[in-house]
């Protein structure tokens, strides 16, 4: 795993991975002339049907990494590719391959879930026939048929989240990026996300889920990347991580990591 003196967490087992992130780096110039490195030299890969948990405390660089993968932020160095398509060369094509669930449960107050989903499908050029069929199917799978024709402004947070999860699947992408999908949700809401991940797994999608709730992550993900201060510190399955870090749970691993880096960062897990 050590190449050129750097850690490389590309998955080298079996068939070629769907998502390949290689040495992704993002630096933000500040107004006073200094530079903040939000993400540094991050590499990993994710296979079809696999859920990869990108874990770390707030400000670790999880969201920045996702935004670079999605082509919303231009990487300062490195590249990310899906099925051989590079985000640097073909950002539009990349966006078609990714379903993105962001932290904020953003819905259009004055549209109904049905209208909103078909609007999103329009953005991705999904044909009207396919739109209708997918909306029906997702309404059943994610169980929002009851309020599919009510306007989003009157829905509860959990209901909005269901609509939002469906929204990311409207164009049936092979890759899903989920940024803190359980933030602000109760146990029932988290359970919905868990079932959603099972669904994605069964559909053989490559999934990256960002979260700082390590207890949840252990339940959700197949493999983990531990991100701290912009760097990927550890990467692997729970068993692999346990053997390298000699710690039992993800939380313990992180506490250890924080101790060694002497950074005073609080977890809300």
């Amino acid at each position: 795993m050590l190449q050129d003196g750097r850690l490389d967490f590309s998955d080298q087992r079996g068939s070629s991975p769907l998502i390949t992130v290689s040495r992704l780096t993002k630096r933000f110039p500040l107004s006073d002339g200094s530079v903040v490195t939000a993400v540094e030299d991050v590499s990993f890969s994710v296979n079809r049907g696999e859920v990869f948990g990108l874990l770390g405390p707030n400000g670790a660089g999880k969201t920045t990494t996702l935004r670079m993968m999605l082509g919303l932020l231009q990487p300062s160095a490195g590249d990310s590719s899906i099925d051989g398509v590079s985000v640097m060369d073909n950002p539009d094509q990349i966006k078609r391959l990714i379903g993105f669930v962001s932290t904020s449960v953003g819905v259009y107050q004055w549209l109904t879930p049905r209208e909103m989903l078909s609007f999103v499908a329009d953005l991705y050029d999904v044909s009207p026939a396919a739109q209708a069929e997918r909306i029906e199917r997702l309404a059943d799978v994610l169980d929002f048929r009851e309020y599919i024709d009510r306007r989003c402004g009157v829905l509860s947070t959990g209901q909005k989240q269901r609509v939002n999860l469906a929204r990311a699947l409207m164009h049936d992408p092979p890759v899903m990026l989920l940024d803190e999908p359980t933030r602000g949700l109760d146990v029932v809401g988290s359970q919905v996300v868990f079932e959603y991940l099972q669904l994605l797994r069964s559909q053989k999608k490559a999934v990256i889920i960002c979260t700082h709730r390590l207890d949840e992550a252990e339940r959700f993900a197949d493999r983990f990347g531990l991100l701290h201060q912009g760097r990927l510190q550890h990467c692997g399955t729970l068993a692999e991580l346990q053997s390298t870090t000699h710690e039992h749970s993800l939380t313990e691993m992180f506490v250890n990591l924080l101790k060694t880096s002497k950074a005073a960062i609080c977890f809300d897990a």
Binding site: R67, D92, G106, V107, D125
Partner: protein, 746 residues
């Protein structure tokens, strides 16, 4: 990407823009806040305003109907005499008015409508110094404002033809007025009017007694005509553009904020930016939605405004006579203005991260927008070149002129074109900033972001950059284009100055803007050496197109128009004869041709081509080229549109084929140069049997010769290989163009 798939994409993005717009509209129109501004505001505001306006007018008049004037006299006795005289004078005046026919009635429009004609009623409040305890003199009473008028009566010697007279003594009326007091002035006029009536009656009686007929050396008959300058008669109309502009703005503000800053605040912005849709498409959808709401608001306001006016019977007062063409022009202007303002709003609200921030940005904009309203209220302010390209001011002034019915078509065109271009400019700015990571994630200052140079250089200017450049060039073209002719120097120098202006407009400005946008100059302006065979093709076309352009121009012109143009040209030509040929060639052929090619083909068409099909880029840049040729200093030469556009198409095809602006420059220079040389040696040519004068068709031999040469050039262009490999698949599309062009010319 192949041409076909590109055009499919552009069709797709059109319908997609529409679908996006319907979603935005659905969202906005369901929002109660929009409905409030859209429907309730106009429904409430105008009737309310109307009632207030009407009440105001009535109040003013009822004040006018009884004017109370305080009059001070020295004694009680004088007060009595004054009162008697006023009553008698008043009665006589009324009687005189009744007998005199043909007296012009006061035809104030407002008074007309409200049925209040004639003189106001005067009420003289008389008091004497005896009553007053202040101890002031009559003069002091007036100057200290206790009285409006002071009157001193003194008896004068009765000089009735030397005979003693019966009846009351004659009096000398000394009237004291206060300076600068309207009331004092009105009172004075009324008192003298009544006294005049008494005097007149007395003289009439004398004449009657002495059996003399009443003959006057000068008699007066007055007729009141309505003013041709309607601005004075209906000043209320100047408020309408202001109200319309304000209402259009009000309608657009809320949706503009909601669809940009609101997306961010709701957390839906990431849905949009994560989708494979260009920012320009997203923004186009939002733009259509904001524009629709702005227009709906404007329409609602207009309906409510007119309904109120009709209901209160004020339409004649406020509107005067409004023709259907005028209405159409006003509507066109309003649509264009609404488009412009929607684009400006979107560009500003795109910068904002929240509703609050957007509102903070918009307050100064609204304040700035109010100032042009003042311009519309200045009746003597004439719209000119500079005002016509000043955003907002041009619209308000143009709307005022339209409603007053005195509008120059040239100015109307300039206002429309410049406003459209500013709108495009604003949209380009909005697209640059909307959803950019600086706004999304705060990686930089937002407002400064607008002016930040891109970090990486590009080969070809984006359409945003080239359209922004077009907006700047057009405005300056209107302003700077007239400078040379205003210089107080010889015609030769003026012509050279015009050449310099071309250089400034079409070369310097685009180069500066392209440099700022980090566009590579050589690529961005198609400055590369073409394959050798494009040179002979350009020479052939440059030498043989003019007869056809000339023929087209002749066939378009009507007889009246030719006479008109002849006069314009003759005036100009007389002076032109004295100018050396080389100056004419440099300033009228080389400079404009080379500079225009540099801008319209090398920069503009090249930039459009990067996003659109070959035919689209050729036609759009050719039409823009044609439009620029229509506006000549102080006239609109519409007949130049078609020939210039056709010329633009030919030049566009040459650029498309050769990939270089240079052959086009040669072609254009030769074409202009030949036209100048032909007119220079017109007499010599006529002697040689080649009759070329105004309006006459060219000899068939010239046309045939030119056709052969064009055919050779077209063959050279059509059959030779293409410079740019990515355009290899466009051959079919271009050939059809060549054919169309050939047909148009033959």
């Amino acid at each position: 990407m192949s041409d076909e798939s590109k055009s499919v994409n552009s069709r797709d993005s059109g319908s997609r823009t529409w679908r996006l717009a319907t979603k935005e509209l659905r969202e906005i129109l369901r929002d109660r806040r929009t409905v409030m501004t859209l429907v309730l505001m106009p429904l409430l505001v105008y009737p309310l305003l109307g009632v207030i306006l009407r009440k105001g007018l009535l109040n003013n008049l009822s004040h006018l109907q009884t004017i109370e004037v305080h009059v001070c006299l020295e004694t009680e006795e004088d007060s009595r005499r004054f009162a008697e005289a006023m009553i008698r004078g008043g009665q006589i005046a009324v009687m005189q008015q009744g007998t005199r026919s043909g007296e012009p009635a006061d035809s104030s429009a407002v008074a007309d409508v409200l049925g209040a004609r004639g003189q106001p009623e005067f009420e003289f409040r008389v008091f004497s110094l005896d009553e007053s305890e202040s101890g002031f003199s009559v003069e002091q009473q007036v100057s200290e404002r206790f009285a409006d008028i002071g009157v001193k009566l003194t008896s004068v010697e009765n000089v009735d033809g030397g005979r003693p007279r019966r009846g009351p003594p004659f009096l000398k009326w000394q009237i004291l007025r206060r300076e600068g007091s309207a009331l004092s002035d009105r009172g004075y006029k009324e008192i003298t009017r009544r006294l005049d009536a008494i005097n007149d009656r007395y003289v009439d009686r004398l004449l009657e007694i002495n059996q003399l007929s009443r003959v006057r050396p000068a008699t007066v008959a007055t007729q009141v005509l309505s003013s041709s300058d309607q601005g004075n008669s209906s000043s209320l109309i100047t408020f309408i553009p202001l109200v319309l502009v304000l209402m259009t703005m009000t309608g657009a503000v809320y949706p503009a904020i909601d669809l940009t800053a609101g997306e961010r605040e709701r957390g839906t912005m990431e849905i949009l930016v994560a989708a494979p849709v260009s920012r320009m498409t997203l923004l186009a959808g939002k733009f259509v939605a904001v524009l629709t709401v702005a227009l709906l608001t404007a329409t609602m306001n207009l309906i409510s405004m007119f309904a109120t006016l009709f209901a209160l019977g004020l339409e004649g007062t406020v509107l005067g006579n409004l023709g259907p063409t005028m209405v159409v022009q006003v509507i066109v202007l309003m649509v264009v203005f609404a488009a412009f303002f929607s684009a400006v709003l979107l560009s500003i609200t795109s910068v904002a991260r929240s509703f609050k921030e957007a509102q903070a940005y918009l307050v100064p904009l609204m304040l700035i927008s109010l100032t042009p309203g003042v311009f519309s209220l200045m009746p003597n302010l004439q719209i000119n070149g500079i005002l016509a390209v000043t955003p907002l001011v041009n619209t308000v002034l143009m709307a005022r002129d339209l409603l007053q019915g005195n509008v120059s078509l040239l100015m109307f065109a300039i206002v429309l074109i410049s406003t459209v271009l500013y709108g495009v400019l604003a949209l380009a700015v909005a697209a640059r900033i909307f959803g950019s990571d600086a706004v999304l994630y705060g990686s930089g200052g937002t407002l400064t972001e607008l002016l930040r140079r891109p970090q990486e250089s590009t080969d070809v200017a984006s359409t945003q950059v080239s359209m922004s450049c077009l907006a700047v060039v057009f405005s300056l073209f209107i302003v700077a284009g007239s400078i040379p002719s205003r210089l107080n120097v010889s015609l030769s120098i003026q012509l050279l100055a015009a050449g310099l202006v071309s250089l400034f407009l079409f070369v310097l400005i685009p180069v500066c803007l392209a440099g700022f946008a980090r566009v590579q100059l050589l690529h961005g302006f198609s400055l590369r050496l073409p394959k050798w065979w494009f040179w002979p093709a350009a020479v052939l076309l440059g030498g043989s197109l003019w007869p056809y352009i000339y023929e087209i121009e002749i066939s378009i012109l009507t007889d009246d128009r030719i006479e008109e143009l002849k006069q314009i040209y003759e005036r100009f030509e007389g002076n032109l004869k004295a100018v050396p040929l080389w100056i004419k060639l440099v300033s009228l052929a080389v400079a404009p041709a080379a500079c225009e090619e540099f801008f319209f083909r090398g920069f503009l068409q090249n930039s459009i081509r990067a996003r659109a099909s070959a035919s689209m880029s050729i036609i759009s840049s050719a039409v823009l080229f044609g439009l620029f040729h229509v506006i000549v200093k102080d006239a609109l030469l519409f007949e130049r549109l078609i020939p210039s556009t056709l010329m633009g198409i030919v030049l566009g095809i040459v650029l498309e084929r050769s990939g270089s602006v240079l052959p086009g420059m040669l072609l254009h220079v030769m074409h202009n140069g030949l036209l100048i040389i032909v007119s220079e040696f017109e007499s010599e040519l006529t002697q040689l049997g080649i009759g070329i004068s105004e309006r006459q068709h060219l000899p068939a031999s010239v046309l045939v010769g030119a056709a052969v040469s064009i055919a050779v050039a077209v063959t050279l262009l059509a059959t030779t290989g293409l410079k740019r490999p990515d355009q290899r698949c466009n051959e079919d599309g271009d050939d059809s163009h060549d054919d169309a062009e050939g047909q148009a010319e033959s």
